[in-house]
């Protein structure tokens, strides 16, 4: 695991309370908002299960800590998106909270219904970008959520030990987190990594 320069984080207030909101103007319309909310809820919950942080969705976009939106090409942050595939999303280091997804991708919450060969799993990307929002950089561990690439029609949503170790250095451990249980689940033969 790695960090941003200077290892910025949201601080170690326990429990840390962070809000997130979706842009009403910069969004996609071919997936039900309820499905997108469920995807992000699962992604935030995954990180919250290992560190003492509470994530809460808010309708108050302007004042949310984490602002999520779908943008095309040049969208004003100096990091333009590039169309289909290539760069899928990016997020800024703490405490910026900016979380941008490329609107040109074919985002999917269910590969059974989305048949495109270039469909990208929204939950996998959301889980990865939340790692950046929290302060993690990219990992060299291919199985880790924080590895930089993700192929179309593949899923990688489960945190690996490298992800957990990295984020717990920044925020400490969730009191309900059990390393033993985590390791058992990580090596479970039923666990799929896409």
């Amino acid at each position: 695991y790695t960090y941003f320069p200077g290892r910025p984080s949201w601080g170690r207030t326990t429990p840390l309370m962070l809000t997130y909101a979706f842009s009403s103007s910069d969004f996609i319309d071919y997936i039900e908002i309820s499905d997108i909310r469920a995807v992000f809820n699962r992604a935030f919950t995954r990180w919250a299960s290992v560190i003492p942080v509470n994530f809460t969705e808010t309708q108050d976009y302007k004042h949310a800590d984490i602002k999520i939106g779908f943008y095309s090409k040049d969208h004003g942050d100096g990091e333009p998106f590039d169309g289909v595939l290539g760069v899928l999303a990016h997020a800024f280091s703490p405490k910026s909270g900016r979380f941008h997804l490329d609107a040109a991708e074919t985002w999917s919450v269910d590969f059974e219904s989305e048949k495109s060969r270039v469909a990208i799993d929204l939950e996998s990307v959301a889980t990865h970008e939340i790692g950046h929002v929290l302060g993690l950089g990219h990992s060299s561990v291919k199985e880790a959520v924080m590895y930089p690439s993700l192929n179309p029609r593949s899923k990688k949503v489960d945190l690996r030990l490298d992800d957990v170790n990295g984020v717990q250095v920044l925020y400490g451990s969730n009191p309900n987190f059990s390393l033993t249980s985590f390791l058992q689940s990580e090596t479970s033969p039923n666990k799929s990594f896409g």
Partner: protein, 113 residues
Amino acid sequence: RNMPDFITVLPVNPDMNYTWSTFHKFLDIRRGSEIIGMSELKKYFHRFGYLPKSDTNFTDIFDDGLESAVTQYQSKLGLPVTGKLDSATLSEVMSPRCGVGDNDDHKLHITKH
């Protein structure tokens, strides 16, 4: 006959026009070769932190700088370190990815004001 060490299936159909899909033409290109479009590959490595930020004038020659970038990239992403544009490396390069850079000075590091 010579067999490759490993074979990797490219993530997307290179015949289709996606970002970075044209990079498949650089497979097994050697240092010193000049190929049209190599500058785009250099821009890729520059963007994600494997070429110095100060480098902005990219040629189409596979030079020492690019070889060094490829080696760093392979090391950073847990690929076999060969310094060559082998199939495993190009497959990874062509894969869709996060826009945050891989090295410290190329990350999206902005503080809130």
